[in-house]
Point group: C2
Chain length 382, copies 2
C-alpha cells in the first residue's frame, strides 16, 4: 500500500486552490547559497531598501577576517553579496537593512545568543564537518527537570546520552558542561554544537562514549528563557548577592544524574568544564567537591578568588588529592587572557599541575567549540 503520495496529493491539491492556509510560504530566494569553492552568496529580496549589509563572523580560507559585506541591488530588487572562499567553520550572520538588524528571511536556521538571534550556516571540508550532522549513529538529547533542594526549586537540564545508551546496559562516564554569563542549558547545544561534536568524535573513535550534562548555571532561573513559568521575557540577568551560588547547588545536579542515568560513580569517570562564567564555575566546583573530578576544563574562564585563604586551601587540597587533567584554554586576544595567565602563575607558585592551550582569537563560541572538540578526546582515558 502506497498511501503517502495519495495523502500528499490530497493535501497539496486542495491547498493549491485555497488561500486560507500557509503550507508553503517559503521564500523563493536561496540564501545563503554555499558555492562549490566555499564562497557564499547571500540574497535578500528588498526592492525598496536603500542599503543592505551582511554582518557575519566569516573568515576567508586563508584565515583573514572579512569585513561586513555590502550587498548590491539587482534589477529584480534582489540584493546580493558573495564572499571569497571561506574557511571551514560554523558561521553566524545577520542582515542590516536600512540600519535595521534582521535575520535572513530565507534561512530558517537560527541560533539565540543571550538576547539576540542570528542565522547560521556551516562550511564543511575541515573543522566545520565536526559541527555538521553526519551519517553516523546519533545520541539522544533530553530536556528534563531535577530537584535542587539547595536552590529550593525544580530546574531544567539538557542531557546528551551517546548512541547505544538506550539499548545497552553499560555504565558511562559523565562530562558536566557549563555555559557562560547570559547562557543557559540550551547554549552548549545550539551555539556549542555539543551533540554533533560528540556524535562525530565518538563515531570517529576519537572520543570515549560519554554522557554530557548541560546545566543552567544561573541560580535565579529555573530554566532557559521561555522554558520556565516566568514567561517569554527578553532574556536578561537578575543579580542577587544574597542568592546561593550555582556551585553550592551542584551536588543536587550530580545526585540527580547519578540516580537517573547509568553512570560510573568514580572520580576517574567525572569531568567538569565550562566557558567564561562556566569556567569559573568549573574552577570552583572542581575544588569545592573534593576528590570528585579527575578532569577539569577551564575555557576562557572567569577565575576569581585565589587571594581568599579558603580558596587557596581548597586548591592545595585538590592538588594533593591528585587529578588527571586540569586544562586551561584561552584565546590570545580574549579579554580574560591576562587573568588566565595570572591564574597560571598562581598555580605555578603552588606547583599545581595544569596544561595550557593557547589559541588565536577572543571570547567567542568558535573557540569554545574548538576547546570542546579538543578536550573531549582527552577524557576518561585509562
Amino acid at each position: 500500500m502506497k498511501r503517502l503520495p495519495l495523502l500528499l496529493a490530497a493535501v497539496l491539491c486542495v491547498a493549491g486552490a485555497s488561500a486560507q492556509q500557509a503550507l508553503w510560504s517559503a521564500s523563493k530566494i536561496v540564501s545563503p547559497q554555499i558555492n562549490g569553492d566555499n564562497s557564499v552568496t547571500f540574497r535578500l529580496m528588498a526592492p525598496e531598501a536603500k542599503s543592505a549589509v551582511v554582518v557575519c563572523d566569516y573568515t576567508a580560507a586563508d584565515g583573514t577576517a572579512l569585513a561586513p559585506g555590502k550587498m548590491v541591488r539587482g534589477g529584480d530588487g534582489v540584493w546580493e553579496f558573495t564572499t571569497p572562499p571561506l574557511m571551514s567553520e560554523l558561521y553566524s550572520y545577520n542582515f542590516v537593512v536600512d540600519g535595521v538588524k534582521v535575520c535572513d528571511p530565507a534561512n530558517v536556521y537560527i541560533n539565540r545568543d543571550v538576547a539576540s538571534v542570528a542565522n547560521i550556516f556551516i562550511i564543511g571540508g575541515d573543522r566545520g564537518d565536526l559541527y555538521r550532522v553526519n551519517d553516523v549513529p546519533h545520541g539522544s538529547v533530553k530536556r528534563c527537570w531535577y530537584d535542587s533542594p539547595t536552590l529550593g526549586k525544580s530546574r531544567r537540564m539538557t542531557v546528551y546520552t551517546p548512541a547505544g545508551y538506550e539499548q545497552g546496559r553499560e555504565k558511562y562516564p559523565v562530562l558536566y558542561l557549563l555555559h557562560g554569563a547570559g547562557g543557559d542549558e540550551e547554549a552548549w547545544m545550539t551555539l556549542g554544537r555539543t551533540s554533533q561534536i560528540l556524535d562525530n568524535l565518538i563515531a570517529q573513535g576519537k572520543c570515549r562514549p560519554m554522557i554530557v550534562v548541560m546545566t543552567n548555571g544561573n541560580p535565579w532561573q529555573q530554566a532557559a528563557p521561555g522554558e520556565a513559568a516566568d514567561g517569554m521575557k527578553q532574556p536578561g540577568m537578575k543579580f542577587d548577592p544574597s542568592q546561593t551560588s550555582f556551585e553550592e547547588s551542584f551536588g543536587d545536579v550530580i545526585a540527580y544524574v547519578e540516580d537517573n542515568y547509568r553512570v560510573i560513580r568514580k572520580k576517574e569517570a567525572r569531568a567538569v568544564a565550562g566557558l567564561s562564567m562556566g569556567g569559573g564555575h568549573s574552577f570552583n566546583i572542581s575544588r569545592m567537591y573534593p576528590d570528585t573530578f579527575d578532569y577539569v576544563g577551564l575555557f576562557s574562564a572567569a577565575v576569581r578568588g585565589v587571594e581568599d585563604p579558603e580558596v587557596a586551601e581548597s586548591l592545595v587540597r585538590q592538588r594533593d588529592n591528585g587529578l588527571k587533567l586540569y586544562w586551561i584554554a584561552c584565546g590570545n586576544t580574549d579579554f580574560l587572557y591576562q587573568a588566565n595567565k595570572d591564574y597560571m602563575k598562581y598555580l605555578d607558585s603552588i606547583s599545581f599541575p595544569y596544561t595550557f592551550r593557547e589559541s588565536d582569537g577572543g571570547h567567542i563560541w568558535r573557540n569554545w567549540r574548538i576547546y570542546l572538540s579538543e578536550f573531549a578526546p582527552m577524557l576518561f582515558r585509562k
Copy 2:
C-alpha cells in the same frame, strides 16, 4: 561561599571595557509589550524605513479577526503599533518593513512553520494559559533515534514523558501524535505546544499521565531540517511515488517505543492522532494495525481511499474489533471540511461509530492545539 556575584562581576566588568565580545547585544526596544488590558504594543527601531506593518494572526477579545497593523513612526525612529485587547491565545507575527517580511529583532521567541519563521507571544487568562509554561511539574522531552528496517534508515523522534516517569516504576499509556505535510518531529512541540498542554492538563488532573510520541511522517527524511546528514537546506518536500509509506513503517515506531519505554502494551493504552496529512496517517495506521488502537483522533484530516475495497474492508474490520473513541475534528472553514463531511457520511453508511467536533476556523495550528487540548483528556479512561 557566594561566588556567583564575584564571577559575574569579573565577566561583566571587563566586558564593559572590551569591544570584542557580544555578551549583551540585546535590543533596548521592548516588543511585543503585553499591556494590562491584554492589548499588545509592537515596536521596531527603523529610522530609515518608509513603512512598517505587523502581520499577525491576532484576534480581538470579542473574537473578531484583526487586520495587519500599520505601525506609526515616532520622532525617535521607533515605529509602534498597539492592538485592541486580544483574546487569550498563542499568536504568531512578523513585521513587514518596506515590503520585506522579517522577524521582530527584539523578540527571541521564534517558531518555524514548514519553511518560514515567525515570532510568537501568548496572551494568558484563558486558553493561552494552557500553552504557557506554568509552575507545575514538567515532563521530560527527548529527541532520540530509532531504527526503521521498513524504511531502511535510522530516524528521529520526539518523546514526551510525564513528570514522575524517571522516578517511578509505573507503566504508561501512549499517544502517537502525527504532524501534517511540511512538518516533522518538531512541529507538535513548537507550533503545537504539546509539552506545555500535557504538563498543564496533567497538573490540573484533567488528563491521565501519558507518553506522547511525535514522529517524523516523511518517509524520505531521517529527521527535521538541519537534524539529518542532508544539511541545513531550505525545508521542502521530496515526492517519490515508489517510496514505502510512513504508515507501513509504523510498526517500527511502536516496536521502538514499547522496547524502550515503560508502556502498557494494550490496545486500551494506545492512541494515534494527527493533523492534516497526519490525520490521514492516523486514519490509515488505526485500520492497518488491527486491534492496536482504542483511540483515534483525526484533526482536519486528509482522509483518502475509502473507494478502495481493501481500505473499505479494513474499516469494517476496525469497526467489528471495536474501539473506544474515533474522534473527527474539523474547522468549518477548513478546506478539508467537505472531505471530512463526506468521510463521515461514508462512516455512517457502514455504521462505524465516531464523534464529530466541529470548530470555527480553518486549517491552522490554533485549531490543532485546541483539538489536542480536548482530545488528550478523553484518552485512557476506564
